[in-house]
């Protein structure tokens, strides 16, 4: 029952927004097409802005993986990760996620490419990437922009949020797609 609802939400989420937003816009007198194009222009800029992060991270990870260093690393930590139901391959993503959005995206992309988007690892990496945010980036950029130097309990709080998101991803992916 629960699994069915989750998969229905997945199937309908995007068509629903695709229908609702332009329709409401139209009835509110928005020039839907012109406005859409205006917003879409930013898409190009944003995608181009992440190229340096992607190239930097993909090169480092590509070298790490192709050299065989990755498989040594994974063999060492695999027993710990399998205790909580996650393959060792996703550990670098879990470590990188709070540090660098571009870096984590690079690792996730690499995992999805190497194992296939529909593999267990591909699905887990996708969910982990979508479920948490770049705590340290937000901390340094947001707080830095207004001159905050004392973070109070913000670092602890951000990491708690990240870790709970990661554990929840591992749990749900195991529940839905594991044990096959």
């Amino acid at each position: 029952m629960f699994l069915n609802i989750v998969s229905q939400v997945s199937r309908w989420a995007i068509p629903f927004l695709l229908l609702t937003i332009p329709l409401v816009g139209f009835f509110r007198g928005v020039k839907v097409y012109e406005t859409f194009v205006e917003g879409a222009e930013e898409g190009f800029e944003t995608a181009v802005r992440i190229i340096p992060f992607l190239v930097g991270m993909l090169v480092a990870i590509g070298v790490f993986r192709a050299s065989g260093a990755m498989s040594i690393f994974v063999r060492v930590i695999d027993p710990i990760m399998s205790l909580i139901g996650a393959p060792g391959e996703v550990l670098p993503l879990a470590v990188m996620r709070p540090l660098s959005g571009g870096g984590a995206l690079g690792i996730a992309t690499e995992l999805i490419g190497a194992h296939g988007p529909d593999s267990f690892i591909g699905k887990l990496a996708s969910t982990m990437q979508g479920s948490t945010d770049t705590t340290f980036y937000v901390l340094t950029v947001y707080f830095g922009s207004v001159g905050i130097r004392k973070y109070r309990y913000a670092v602890t709080l951000g990491l708690i949020a990240d870790i709970s998101g990661l554990l929840a991803s591992i749990f749900i992916i195991n529940l839905l797609f594991g044990g096959s």
């Binding site: 529909d118 945010d133 905050i148 309990y153 709080l157 990240d162 929840a168």
Partner: protein, 197 residues
């Protein structure tokens, strides 16, 4: 920290390849990876454009304003120190909405604006306020309905069902948000107790 991780990946890769006597794989991996970084970015342009376009319509149609009225009870619970008509609230809601739609890059401008406004309400301009910590917690864990970037990458990788991970992502982010908001309340109470002494 990112610097250390990046360097460690490169150095350990080169050392292992060298010890295995196949240093040429490093050259090939580096060149192939650099090219695929660019390819990926180009392949997600279409999706980014789609969401940012829809987002602009939602904004102009007043759907964002409507949303901020709907979520007012929640924002009052989360940010008791921020008056509901304060400009900080509008920016916070726009930032969270962008996060819910999975538009991390669209969220940043609103996030910066929200911080500037929250700073105006801050007693000590050097120290993060309670509202700022709450905002960070929600930002970090935020419920995500459409993880747009990752769906784009799945499409680019030839997934048979790119949106399959939407449901799991909603679940994981919902859990993360509940934990983050609870942790925020607990840490806040502890911090207050410690500083009253």
């Amino acid at each position: 920290m990112v610097n250390v991780i990046w360097l460690t990946l490169l150095i350990s890769g080169i050392i292992v390849a060298g010890m295995n006597g196949q240093i040429e794989v490093v050259t090939k991996a580096a060149m192939d990876s650099a090219q695929s970084g660019v390819n990926i970015a180009i392949e997600i342009i279409g999706l980014m454009a789609l969401w940012l376009g829809l987002m602009r319509i939602a904004q102009k149609a007043g759907m964002v304003n409507f949303l901020s009225k709907v979520v007012k009870p929640i924002t009052r619970f989360l940010f008791p120190t921020v008056p509901s008509e304060h400009p900080a609230m509008g920016a916070i809601i726009m930032n969270i909405s962008a996060n819910i739609l999975g538009l991390g890059n669209a969220a940043t401008p609103f996030g910066l604006k929200a911080m500037q406004e929250l700073q105006k309400l801050n007693d000590d301009p050097e120290e993060a306020s309670e509202a700022m910590c709450t905002f960070l917690a929600i930002n970090t864990s935020c419920i995500t309905l459409i993880p747009a970037t990752i769906i784009g990458i799945r499409v680019a990788a030839g997934s048979a069902d790119p949106t399959e991970i939407v449901g799991p992502t909603i679940f994981a982010t919902a859990v993360g948000t509940v934990v983050a908001v609870s942790a925020d309340k607990i840490l806040r109470a502890r911090y207050r107790a410690r500083h009253r002494r």
